[in-house]
């Protein structure tokens, strides 16, 4: 478990990072929590020549700010900080709930939300949550550029981030206090990556579903929104039959691969089960009646 040799840098400013990335392009990698990059290097699946540690920039890239219309989270915020954030537990409980299910305690104490979305493992958790929340990612390369989640996750381990860009901030639109939410992750054992993971948000309106957002991960080459299901839910008085139809539509969009986690058929089956469970939980949390 020994990586290829590499050169290591600790920058003082963000522009130093960008300057370096522009010079070395694909040969350089920024290091955040290291819990995806370092295992890949040790297995020699990745062999960057230069490692730029973002840790010295922690002061300016690690914050959780709630104000105005959005919640802003710095790229270096660790999973565990989100898991234990009191303000997020009140404002957007799906975030701490999802964080709690990532890896084990050691992983959560090191891994960062920015690193997770930048790495964009199709079986990881944050991308699914971010997609459901319509998060917007700020990318910095000397100037800032904002990319919405719908355009950010391109494929397995591929995002809209250019080799010379650094992800600095994640901005999430605030939701009304009374919203229903659910985070469901199906894993083979504690600490495992998901077989399927589902984020659901419900905004109630006069005893109906005002709008719904459902994102599904791990059963497709990238996380996806259950668009047809969301359309069916909009304005509906939810009942079990509708839930079933939405779950079916979610499962039909999945394109899982058969592997040690199960056959494609089984994965489609559990996608349906977990979308159903997630939807029911979110509806209940939205204080809506489920007939």
């Amino acid at each position: 478990m020994i990586p290829k040799s590499f050169e290591y840098f600790e920058p003082k400013t963000l522009s130093e990072v960008v300057g370096f990335l522009k010079k070395h392009k694909e040969n350089a990698k920024v290091l955040a929590g290291g819990h995806s990059l370092i295992p890949m290097m040790k297995l020699r699946l990745a062999a960057p020549q230069y490692i730029i540690n973002l840790e010295p920039l922690r002061k300016s890239l690690s914050y959780i700010k709630v104000g105005g219309k959005s919640i802003r989270i710095g790229a270096l915020v660790r999973h565990a900080e989100i898991e234990h954030s009191q303000i997020l537990k009140r404002e957007l409980p799906i975030l701490p709930a999802a964080a709690e299910w990532i890896g084990d305690m050691q992983v959560r104490n090191m891994g960062t939300i920015g690193g997770s979305v930048a790495h964009s493992d199709p079986a990881s958790d944050w991308p699914v949550v971010m997609l459901s929340l319509n998060a917007v990612f700020t990318l910095y390369s000397g100037k800032k550029r904002k990319v919405p989640a719908s355009k950010f996750f391109i494929g397995p381990f591929t995002t809209a981030i250019k080799p010379y860009e650094v992800l600095t901030e994640i901005e999430i639109p605030r939701l009304p206090k009374r919203h229903g939410w659910s985070w469901k992750k199906f894993e083979r054992k504690a600490g495992d990556f998901a077989t399927v993971n589902v984020a659901t948000l419900i905004l109630p309106k006069d005893g109906h579903i005002g709008s719904a957002s459902i994102a599904v991960g791990s059963v497709h080459y990238r996380p996806y929104r259950v668009t047809e299901g969301e359309r069916l839910l909009k304005g509906a008085k939810p009942d079990l039959e509708l839930v079933e139809r939405v779950a079916e539509s979610a499962a039909s969009m999945a394109e899982p691969t058969s592997d040690l986690r199960g056959s494609a058929e089984y994965k489609r089956h559990v996608t349906k089960v977990f979308v159903k469970r997630s939807l029911i939980e979110a509806i209940e949390r939205a204080n809506l009646n489920l007939r």
Partner: protein, 757 residues
């Protein structure tokens, strides 16, 4: 008295605070590092190995199989049954590789980084050959051959026939059969393997530090394969971080590293990576069994017949053949079944060799019979507990000779099962099965027996003039806690406090030959060897004390660090006084030789621990995820020296058994590529997956002065089948017959889909 009390482990301070020294903590002056280049094909001819690009600055030497063939190896095979095929196994493959992970070249260099980098630069040209990974396919006549020097892939075929099997089947009222596939497991010791060797040209002595369970045997194997006298080799085990049977073999690295140290003249260290450990350290289990039972009108199982096919992998490792044979020989389990007709076939495939893994054949044997007993009960619609009660060997029949030739020393299987049924609240659990609606509830039983205490042990005990006691043992504990248990035993015999005692193990230069640690035997065989030595010391000390106190030896007792005249409080000499007299010829009573040391040996009778385990599970009706609701384990390991150590062994073994039942699976694809090569894919249960075990014991003493039987493997032997039985019970109404394990959600989904449920 210490024996019988939950004394805290004396090992723990150093283990828990990280001060213990493992192999990879060792650094010697001028030490070099080694890294092995391993085959990426399951079966191929090596056409060329080009190392020219790999001679990076810092690389000292690179050797291939051809280079070493005449100097190193072949590897030792201890278990060879009559008529079996034993391919010659060189430490580095010569011309042909037979499994992914087989070493083909070794690189030696100044640090562990450069040897790793150089490995990427060694270019091995292979010409791929057809391979076979499925044992059934390997048995077919058109299968590719793993070893072209043999006519087929059968390593051995053994027929075991006892009693009138055919007649009993003809006269039976019912026949019930079962097929099970016990998957391949990776033992996954927390510390991988490692070897460090140093050669002193002046004294012509080779010192080998190895993470092994068997220091003395390893010395023999190394001297044989390097063709050097055994007296020139010393094996030392530093702290060993678990073994579970995966460190009692003779591995390629155990030969190559010492050879390199001799040849290069500098110390060489190799330490295994986790990926290597999963690919290239022996695996366990991997057997397919089809067994049928004849059942008479009184629900008594009268005979068994069937077949066990064991996937041995590419080579006979040191004890590979033992496992399926022992599985067969323990097949009648706790039952008075008088007749057996079994065929056991060991098959070569292009995979890593299988060898001992915690239980080594006994888990497979009891898994098969216990799965069959539950299947009989379900098929005939009788209570599985009732069925067992009718078939147990009754407590008054011990010693009991099984048709397969073992003589069970003592047992009370009904007693253990009764206790387990009580603890699990059996009637309540049966009620739950019909009242719980949102999950399927199932209950599974396993009543099982283990055989242990193969092999002899030695000890050397010395009491210093100051009264300090050093106990040397040929056992080689690596986590089990025997330093504590041995100290308890010695302290009680000599009437001193445990703090006076130091237990030393794992050095072939200072300890007489013995069998190391495995097979649940350490406490009984090692403990008795120690007692034999301690008795001699005790006798001598009593004689010295008797002369000091002017009393008779029979009237003395050793207690509180003193030797008293029985019944008095003031007539005594201290332990230290007696120890110092032993080293003072002038003060010694006539006829006694100076000194206070003794050597002891012991070859134990086989002992037969047993238990009754019950698992209650619930199965999610949509995802098929299994949850362990209740696990009751009533174990009988004979007399208990330290209940805390026993509970620890039971809990640890149970975690491995539940891993086998629900999570662990070492998978190869059809081309022989291992897929479970990290802990992200080889799923060891973590604390979250482990329920709170309900533990209890019955105590049926063994026929040795300690009364102990053995506990190290007991729960690994007993628990897996209780869990799988419970899952099958939960889903029986839907027609689920479980053949394969682990019973993962996706596997159960497949089983029920095939059933159209």
């Amino acid at each position: 008295m210490y024996v019988g009390k939950p004394v805290k482990r004396v090992e723990d301070l150093r283990l828990i605070t990280g001060s213990a020294k493992y192999l990879d903590d060792m650094v010697l002056p001028r030490m070099l590092y080694a890294y092995f280049v391993r085959s990426v094909y399951a079966h191929a001819k090596i056409t060329e190995i080009d190392v020219s690009k790999a001679m990076l600055p810092g690389i000292v030497a690179i050797f291939t199989g051809r280079d070493l063939k005449d100097h190193c190896g072949p590897l030792a095979v201890e278990s060879v049954y009559k008529g079996s095929k034993v391919p010659v196994h060189y430490p580095l493959a010569v011309d042909e590789v037979k499994y992914v992970g087989e070493p083909v070249a070794v690189i030696v260099g100044e640090d562990r980084y450069v040897v790793r980098d150089a490995a990427d630069e060694v270019s091995v040209s292979y010409q791929q050959l057809p391979s076979v990974t499925d044992p059934m396919e390997a048995l077919s006549s058109n299968s590719p051959l793993v070893h072209s020097e043999f006519s087929d892939n059968v390593c051995f075929r053994r027929s075991i026939k006892r009693g009138e099997v055919e007649a009993l089947f003809n006269n039976s009222s019912k026949r019930v059969g079962i097929k099970v596939k016990i998957q391949r497991l990776a033992p996954s010791a927390m510390e991988p393997r490692g070897v460090l060797a140093e050669y002193d040209r002046g004294s012509e002595r080779l010192t080998v530090w190895a993470s092994t369970q068997f220091p003395h045997k390893l010395r023999t194997w190394i001297s044989t394969s390097l063709k050097c006298p055994e007296s020139s080799v010393r094996v030392i085990t530093p702290e060993v971080g678990g073994g579970f049977g995966s460190k009692l073999s003779h591995y390629p690295e155990d030969v190559v590293i010492p050879y390199l140290a001799m040849r290069i003249g500098r110390p060489v260290k190799w330490f295994e990576e986790r990926g290597e450990n999963l690919r290239s350290t022996t695996h366990g289990r991997d057997m397919i069994a089809e067994v049928e039972a004849a059942v008479d009108e009184n629900l008594r199982v009268t005979a068994l017949r069937g077949r066990i096919i064991a996937d041995l992998g590419a080579y006979n490792h040191t004890h590979t053949q033992d496992n399926p044979i022992l599985a067969a020989n323990m097949l009648t389990g706790t039952y008075a079944i008088g007749a057996v007709d079994l065929e056991v076939i060991g098959v070569f495939t292009n995979k890593m060799a299988t060898d001992a893994y915690r239980g080594a054949g006994r888990p497979e044997g009891s898994y098969i019979i216990e799965r069959l007993m539950d299947r009989i009960a379900r098929t005939l619609n009788v209570d599985p507990a009732e069925l067992r009660m009718r078939n147990f060997i009754p407590p008054q029949s011990f010693p009991y000779r099984t048709p397969l030739g073992f003589v069970y020393d003592s047992g009370n299987y009904e007693g253990a099962l009764r206790r387990a049924l009580e603890l699990v609240n059996y009637e309540d659990v049966k009620r739950l099965k019909s009242t719980v609606r949102d999950r399927y509830i199932g209950v599974g039983i396993s009543t099982f027996v283990e055989v242990c205490n193969f092999g002899y042990q030695s000890s050397y005990v010395k009491v210093e003039p100051s009264g300090l006691i050093s106990v040397y043992t040929s056992t080689s504990p690596h986590g089990q806690g025997e330093e504590t248990a041995f100290s308890q035993i010695v302290a009680d015999r000599l009437g001193v406090s445990m703090e006076k005692i130091r237990v030393i193990h794992g050095d072939t230069d200072t300890i007489p030959y013995g069998s190391g640690t495995a097979g649940s035997w350490t406490l009984t065989s090692g403990g008795m060897a120690i007692i034999n030595a301690v008795e001699r010391i005790r006798e001598k000390m009593l004689r010295i004390a008797a002369s000091r106190l002017e009393a008779r030896v029979e009237d003395l007792e050793m207690n509180d660090g003193r030797i008293y005249v029985k019944g008095t409080h003031d007539k005594y000499v201290t332990f230290e006084e007696v120890a110092s007299i032993a080293y003072d010829q002038r003060k010694l009573p006539g006829g006694l030789e100076m000194g206070l040391t003794a050597t002891g040996f012991y070859r134990p009778e086989l002992t037969f621990p047993f238990g009754a385990y019950i698992a209650v599970v619930s199965v999610d009706p949509e995802t098929y995820q299994v949850t362990l609701e209740r696990v009751v384990m009533v174990s009988d390991c004979g007399k208990v020296v330290n209940p805390m150590l026993v509970d620890g062994q039971i809990a640890g073994g149970a975690v491995q058994a539940l891993g086998q039942a629900l999570y662990e699976d070492f998978v190869y694809d059809k081309d022989g590529n291992p897929l479970s090569v990290s802990f992200a894919d080889y799923l060891l249960p973590s604390a979250t997956e482990v329920p709170e075990f309900i533990l209890d014991r019955t105590e049926t003493p063994a026929n040795n002065p300690l009364g102990t039987k053995g506990v190290g493997e007991l729960s690994t032997i007993g628990l897996a089948q209780a869990i799988v039985n419970a899952v099958e019970d939960a889903l029986w109404k839907m027609g689920a017959e479980i053949v394969e394990t682990p019973v993962t959600p996706q596997r159960l989904y497949g089983v029920l889909r095939r059933r159209g449920a």
